[in-house]
Amino acid sequence: MLRIRAIPALQVREGCLVKTVRFKRFAYVGDPCNTMRIFNELEVDELLVLDISQDRAKRGPDLRLIADLADECFMPLGYGGGVLTLDDARAIFAIGIEKVVINTAAVARPGLIGEIATVYGSQAVIVSIDVKRGPLGAQTVRSGNGCRRTGLDPVAWAKEAAQLGAGEILLTSIDREGTWQGFDLDLVRRVSDAVTVPVIAHGGAGSLQDIGDAVTKGGASAVALGSMVVFQKQGLGVLVNFPEASALRRVLP
């Protein structure tokens, strides 16, 4: 049977790999292609690359970078960042990427989800939902790399996205991202309960236990790992790594 997936999520900024904390300050992590090669050799099951360059939304996807990455990648790759139109998606799939991740564009025009899903299949479309807690405690969806308030409720938006054809939901807690404090299990649970498509929990993984909890307590179908796979430990040096299969098996069902 299928395993629960643990997916490295890499952030690219102006052609350089970085890691943010709460979507804000960032540290240099390395070269995207070289790091891709390392993950190949570590035999991870799949990867997500999210281009968080400023104005990526205006410039569209970095096709040159995507081609360079596809060259190095012998496992399924999902790309997000500046995917605005069906044509963008088409160009990306033509390069050899398995899935596109759409965020800002989907909020602006939800019809885009169905457009891509109809041609390429739902399994090729991941809708990414970034969630932040406001000053009064309510969690709402943010777009534009966390900068724009949409006022949307994450559960409602996830349901709509799934109905429109999203194959998976990448659910990111902005508040937990880069903090190693564990996933926002309540958020993960509420969204996972509301949709039948797989939910990938993202933001906050700090330990193997956190990974297990996202699945057993949060109901997530997969987890995305950021800081955990690029640093030796919290606060320590950059060191690309991935938990051993045996270690993952111990915490994942």
Binding site: E43, D45, A70, F74, M75, P76, I95, Q123, T196
Partner: protein, 203 residues
């Protein structure tokens, strides 16, 4: 030299890439003349059954493919949709398949919450030894994305078996005709070993 048939469906870049990584020479073509001189053929495919069969006919390569596969009997490997095309036909479409292997392509049924398509890594079990699957050690895994699966008439034609709701043929081999349902080009070292095995088959 592996001749990859480009009939307009399926991302060939990744396949070419992997062959390059295992240092196997390959060419991508749709010309009948080139296919006619092929010593090994790879039939890729992503998309719908009928659309693929239609394109193959439209490209005018059906005859040379039949000749290579059934008369000259060069090693042929169909991957993903390409493997399904080897069968008699698919529940997905109306057109007959190439019929190079006695088998049918069926649709997964969404019983008990089984999500379709079958997407993700899954374990394959070796049902009998085969040169295509040599040197795959330990737990054998591949990456799958498909909504239809193949069942061979003769169980001996199935060389790797995977379970997703039902047991289905993950890889097949009957004489020179071979197929892989998964994406070898996305299955890192497992896919590499399989493609390397194919590239090293005597021909």
């Amino acid at each position: 030299m592996i001749t990859i048939v480009d009939y307009g469906m399926g991302n060939l870049g990744s396949v070419v890439n992997m062959f390059r990584r295992v240092e196997a020479e390959c060419e991508v073509t749709c010309e009948p003349a080139r296919i006619a001189s092929a010593s090994r053929i790879l039939l890729p495919g992503v998309g719908a059954f009928d659309a693929a069969m239609k394109r193959i006919d439209a490209a005018g390569i059906r005859q040379v493919l039949d000749d290579k596969a059934l008369h000259q009997r060069v090693p042929v490997l169909g991957i993903c949709l390409g493997m399904q095309l080897l069968t008699r036909g698919s529940e997905e479409g109306q057109r007959p398949g190439l019929g190079w292997i006695p088998a049918d392509t069926r649709r997964f049924t969404a019983v008990r919450g089984l999500k379709i398509p079958h997407m993700g890594w899954n374990v394959a079990e070796r049902t009998r030894p085969c040169p295509l699957t040599e040197r795959l050690d330990g737990e054998i895994r591949f990456y799958y994305v498909h909504s239809y699966f193949v069942l061979t008439d003769d169980p001996r034609d199935t060389v790797l078996r995977t379970r997703y709701g039902v047991d289905f043929a993950a890889a097949v081999q009957r004489d020179n005709i071979m197929g892989a349902q998964f994406h070898p080009e996305k299955s890192h070292r497992f896919g590499m070993q399989l493609l390397r095995n194919f590239a090293e088959l005597p021909c």
